[in-house]
């Protein structure tokens, strides 16, 4: 409750400034905008803050003219898997999003989020830190209160796709759906691509293992029965067909049996 009233107080102050006075009242302004306006004199690095101030002012003027798409959204990607996070970041950058920050989902998660103050947070559905984030959104006075994209159930297909892919997202309240959807779509497709890649790698690895197993079993059979390589392979294939098994499974049984009888 208090978090909300603090936010409203901030909004009240902002409406007194000449910049915001030009904007129609319904426009949603971001947390960073306010913090930059009112807190930069007491913060560490004035030059960059002034730059940020200028940038945000320009943004607010753009938004006044209805060009809401002009500001680049700040996107945080929380993923314990650095490779997947990199793939997602690359995808978002390719789509023109330049403010993408990757966060490891362990220590200092909350401090990092506070510092970044993202508009969109993308998080691996398997990360237990989702619960940590939700509590932060409930109590925080320093971060605009983001909401889960699953809240809007009008787009059931996207929700299903996100859950199947293993992605969750939080967005700052008031952000338009058509701005968030492409970001979520990119993330979902990258998550799926990553899963596919991982599957392929695992399949390739097990195929390699299979080939080695078959080779070793074949050598054993050749030695035990004094037959040629082709005959040994034919024999194993015959057993596999009779028992409705893969030849690699037969090979594994041969190796196990040999180990037992040694």
């Amino acid at each position: 409750m208090e978090a909300r009233s603090a936010k409203q107080r901030q909004r009240g102050l902002a409406s007194l400034t000449p910049f915001a006075a030009r904007a129609p009242p319904k426009i949603t302004l971001t947390g960073l905008y306010f913090r930059t306006l009112f807190l930069w004199p007491c913060m560490g690095k004035p030059p960059t803050k002034i730059f940020a101030l200028a940038r945000n002012v320009q943004v607010s003027i753009h938004e006044t003219h209805g060009a809401l798409l002009s500001r680049d959204l700040r996107i945080a990607v929380i993923d314990a898997n650095p490779l997947r996070a990199a793939i997602i970041e690359e995808g978002l950058r390719a789509a023109g999003h330049t403010s993408v920050v990757r966060i490891d989902d362990t220590a200092e998660l909350l401090d990092r989020i506070r510092a970044i103050d993202p508009d969109v947070i993308l998080i691996d559905l398997e990360s237990p830190s989702r619960d940590v984030l939700e509590q932060m959104f409930m109590v925080s006075r320093s971060v605009a209160r983001p909401i889960a994209v699953f809240v809007d159930r009008s787009d059931g297909a996207t929700i299903d796709a996100a859950i199947d892919a293993g992605v969750s997202a939080y967005i700052v309240d008031g952000l338009r759906k058509d701005r968030v959807k492409p970001i979520l779509d990119i993330t979902i497709s990258r998550f799926n691509a990553f899963a596919k890649l991982k599957n392929e790698l695992e399949t390739a690895k097990s195929q390699l293992d299979d080939r080695q197993t078959i080779g070793r079993a074949k050598a054993l059979v050749m030695r035990a029965k004094g037959i040629t390589e082709e005959q040994a392979y034919a024999l194993m294939r015959q057993i596999a067909m009779n028992e409705n098994k893969k030849i690699a499974e037969v090979a594994r049984s041969i190796l196990t049996a040999a180990e037992l009888l040694r």
């Binding site: 220590a107 237990p128 989702r130 619960d131 939700e134 889960a148 809240v151 159930r153």
Partner: protein, 377 residues
């Protein structure tokens, strides 16, 4: 052909009845096959249940109420026809905080009033010295763990928002975070308190039962519209939970239950730990707790009594998560639907806190007012 239902759960000891219902074929005998899907966060459990990826879920009772009322992230009507047990939480503190509390304590450390007063002095001293505030972990904004911490702190008029820091930590990381010194203590469910003790990382200061007797924990939650269209499945599943409860409390099944829960608990948890959780509270710091009930899985503990939902709703309002209203209270009570659960004739126990005004489900407004006065004086 039997129907296959997907049920999400978080790997905790109090998912016990779901594991029993599956492993002992109680669900199958009632015509439903259950697939138990472990998940890593309460937010996931909620989202997947609401989006229809789960048919039912092992859910924090207050979270099910919050979703139904639209407090927090998502609003969707849920129904809880059966509870999955009572109690099981404990407040565990670091060795350092325990030592500090013992030096400050004026009385029996088993009394939560004594430890809360001692904590208040530690909190004040840390503030005077400009040190970081005492930090406690819990598991979710809408959880009995969170409210138990509020009730304990409230006994010594410690403001949970201003005087200490309460943070959410995933249960599997709780012990690690305590050991790293990022937490001074936590309130979490079984098995993690016992795991912290076994690992030498913390000391159980109070069993949850010493803070709240018969504290509601998890429920089996469904989407309300799904309940309407799948009445038979709901009935079969909740009856199976009832069967599981009868099986779980039979002394002759104790060893099998311990084995089952050890198998499903994950690698950090030993059979000895599970045994201790089920038998009696794990070794307490000193003296007996208020009651020694610990985790309860018996028939009286699984009745989804609307009185319990009202108690939880009152704790939400007391924690400032929502503003009390009569209509909202009625909606909260309606989440618990014992008529759809297994037949249990006796009324369920209503939670009793060790401190503060007596709870009356007919006059929550007065209860909340009394709670507030008690805390601000």
């Amino acid at each position: 052909m039997t129907k296959r239902l997907r049920i999400g759960y978080v790997p905790l000891t109090d998912a016990a009845l779901l594991h029993v219902a599956k492993a002992q074929h109680f669900a199958a005998a009632r015509g439903v096959e259950i697939e138990l899907v472990a998940d890593s966060s309460w937010a996931n459990i909620r989202d997947k249940l609401v989006a229809g990826h789960f048919d039912a879920a092992h859910m924090l009772a207050p979270a099910a109420i919050a979703v139904s009322l639209g407090i927090g992230q998502i609003e969707a009507p849920l129904v809880a026809p059966v509870a999955l047990g009572l109690n099981g939480n404990a407040i565990t503190v670091s060795q350092a905080l325990f030592e500090a509390l013992r030096q400050e304590a004026q009385g029996d450390m088993a009394d939560p009033r004594v430890t809360a007063e001692a904590l208040a002095r530690i909190v004040a001293r840390r503030r005077e010295r400009g040190e970081s505030p005492v930090t406690f972990g819990h598991v979710f904004p809408f959880s009995s763990h969170h409210y138990q911490l509020h009730l304990w702190l409230g006994a010594a008029r410690i403001n949970p928002d201003a005087d200490v820091r309460l943070v959410v930590v995933p249960p599997p990381l709780m012990v690690w975070t305590l050991r790293k010194g990022q937490l001074d203590g936590f309130c979490v469910g079984a098995p993690w308190n016992a795991v912290a003790v076994a690992a030498g990382a913390g000391i159980i200061l109070h069993q949850g039962t010493a803070i709240v007797r018969d504290c509601p924990e998890k429920v089996l939650a469904f989407r309300a519209e799904w309940v309407r269209s799948h009445a038979d499945d709901v009935r079969a599943l909740t009856e199976a939970v009832g069967d599981a409860s009868r099986w779980a409390v039979a002394p002759s099944n104790r060893d099998a239950l311990v084995a089952l829960l050890t198998d499903t608990a994950g690698q950090d948890v030993s059979a000895r730990t599970i045994e201790r959780i089920l038998e009696s509270p794990p070794s307490c710091a000193s003296g007996p707790a208020l009651t020694e009930t610990g985790l309860r899985l018996d028939q009286d503990a699984i009745k989804a009594d609307p009185g319990q939902a009202l108690w939880l709703y009152a704790q939400m309002a007391a924690a400032g998560q929502t503003a009390y209203s009569h209509d909202q209270a009625a909606a909260a009570a309606a989440v618990y639907a014992p008529a759809l659960g297994p037949p249990i004739s006796r009324p369920a126990a209503i939670p009793v806190a060790f401190d503060g005004p007596a709870f009356s489900q007919n006059d929550i407004a007065s209860y909340l007012a009394a709670l507030k006065t008690g805390r601000s004086c």
